[in-house]
Symmetry: C2
Subunit: 295 residues, 2 copies
């Protein structure tokens, strides 16, 4: 275990969970501070790394280095970080393949809802032509609060209070978080190695509070919509506020709910995750653990 509060904690025989929960760490668990994540993983003799460090979405670091270290040392690498998927997917999957280990990342989009793990066994022999979704919880909460009469600042504080907003509000409000998710889905599920700067991106700051409330009164809603559409060998990817009719399944999302519609050659299929809490992300990593050791 390595966290900002606890520092580096490791023992080759494993850690007592009660001691971990009470943050009581015997001295022999701590030892000399390791030089880097690799040395710490070696000391722990890790079989699996759960990687949930703070992310720079524009570079994917330091998560990429953590995941590489785990795979190189023969551990499965499970991440809740989207950055490594967008910036180093080909390299990391090749490394995982070479080492006979798994790179798993279900918690990166829609928390623990099975998005990436839906495809290999749930939708074999299909062609994914595109997708459309509402994937950023913060803008969803913010738009809902503004509809109720709050200001942008009050709405953002509410999103921070329930623990969904990123530390830097521009990651959410300017559509960066959504753009990284669109890129990750496009790279993994459509097999198109798109770059983050190829995602056309418009955030929600340009929408006036009055406009958001007036369309709501008329039975419509603004949502920050994520879109991808296959174009030959590449894909058109967009994040932008869209005005949706009340009958649109994406319009009825409240709070932290998110949804995605996959347009396949055989049919279109939507998944909706209803008002998850932060334990849903933890569940995504737990589910990856089960998948890594069972398959």
């Amino acid at each position: 275990m390595a966290t900002r509060r606890a520092g580096w904690v490791a023992h080759p025989d494993g850690l007592n969970p009660i001691a971990v929960l009470t943050a009581h760490f015997p001295a022999h668990w701590l030892g000399a501070s390791p030089k880097n994540v690799r040395e710490w993983l070696e000391r722990a003799r890790a079989d699996i790394l759960f990687e949930a460090s703070s992310l720079d979405a524009k570079t994917g670091q330091p998560a990429i280095d953590h995941l590489k270290a785990a795979l190189e040392l023969g551990a499965h690498a499970i991440t809740a970080n989207k950055g490594p998927i967008v910036h180093a997917y080909a390299e990391l999957t090749a490394l995982a393949h070479e080492k006979g280990r798994k790179l798993m990342h279900e918690a990166t989009v829609m928390d623990g809802a099975p998005i990436f793990s839906l495809f290999p066994m749930g939708l074999p022999a299909t062609d994914l032509r595109g997708f459309c979704g509402v994937l950023n919880s913060t803008t969803n909460v913010v738009l809902t609060e503004i509809e109720k009469g709050r200001s942008l600042e009050e709405a953002l504080r509410r999103a921070q209070a329930i623990g969904v907003a990123e530390t830097d509000p521009s990651a959410d409000l300017d559509g960066w978080d959504a753009a990284v998710k669109v890129a990750a889905l496009t790279i993994v599920l459509m097999g198109v190695p798109i770059q983050l700067d190829q995602v056309k991106r418009t955030g929600i700051r340009e929408l006036s509070e009055e406009k958001i409330r007036s369309v709501r009164a008329a039975g419509m809603r603004y949502k920050l919509v994520c879109l991808a559409e296959r174009r030959g060998d590449t894909a058109d990817c967009t994040v932008q506020p869209e005005l949706l009719l009340a009958s649109d399944p994406l319009a009825n999302l409240e709070g932290t709910s998110s949804a995605i519609r996959f347009d396949l050659d055989v049919f279109s299929l939507s998944l909706v995750e209803h008002n998850p809490g932060i334990e849903a992300t933890a569940y995504g990593m737990l589910a990856d653990f089960v998948r890594a050791v069972q398959s």
Copy 2:
């Protein structure tokens, strides 16, 4: 291949797909008519049986006998029939396990959408507390057509014309099809061996056309809703018409679309299949084939 039109067709070296598509069967494919499905499967040296015979949902026959014959002869058994799941699931899965073969049935609920195959790898280590869905296409089409001003008889003819209505309209209108689906989901996904007659069932015949249209004008809709809720070792299962608000994701289903919300301990997750055609059922069986031979 065995169909009403073609009769029993089999050859140990396999069938030429062009000949099958043009219904031109060389004499040596036909041979003497086999006494039963078992003799035909032996002659074909089948690795997999795709079972899509006409169903008696109240007994599960003759589908159960077909699937047993396939498994006993060492073939994977893939069915689009719900009856065998409701009436013989424990027996068939035990037989499949004993023979090291797969019993698969994804096409029985929501066509090819991954419902049954979602759980083992997509949602490991979860507790399914209940579910709620709109799972019968015919009543969905019929209610939509009545909302538009058509009579029950006209609406039913429309559902038959697009190929979704069962031969016997009471299977749909009286909620039998939906009840069999609720029972199949409860047995497989909740592990509760419920009997078909334990599903409380009310169809849509008692709803007057005027009532259906007047609630629609008021922004609400009737849908035939399928419900299951865990109660200790058993489950409460219901099929009944429910009045839904327009903002309810289940209310916005049109045509052949269907949807289900799974209430798990970690979160609630909905799946919506948008307006599938009959090829979606065929896809469900194809996907089972891929899963059977890949895993």
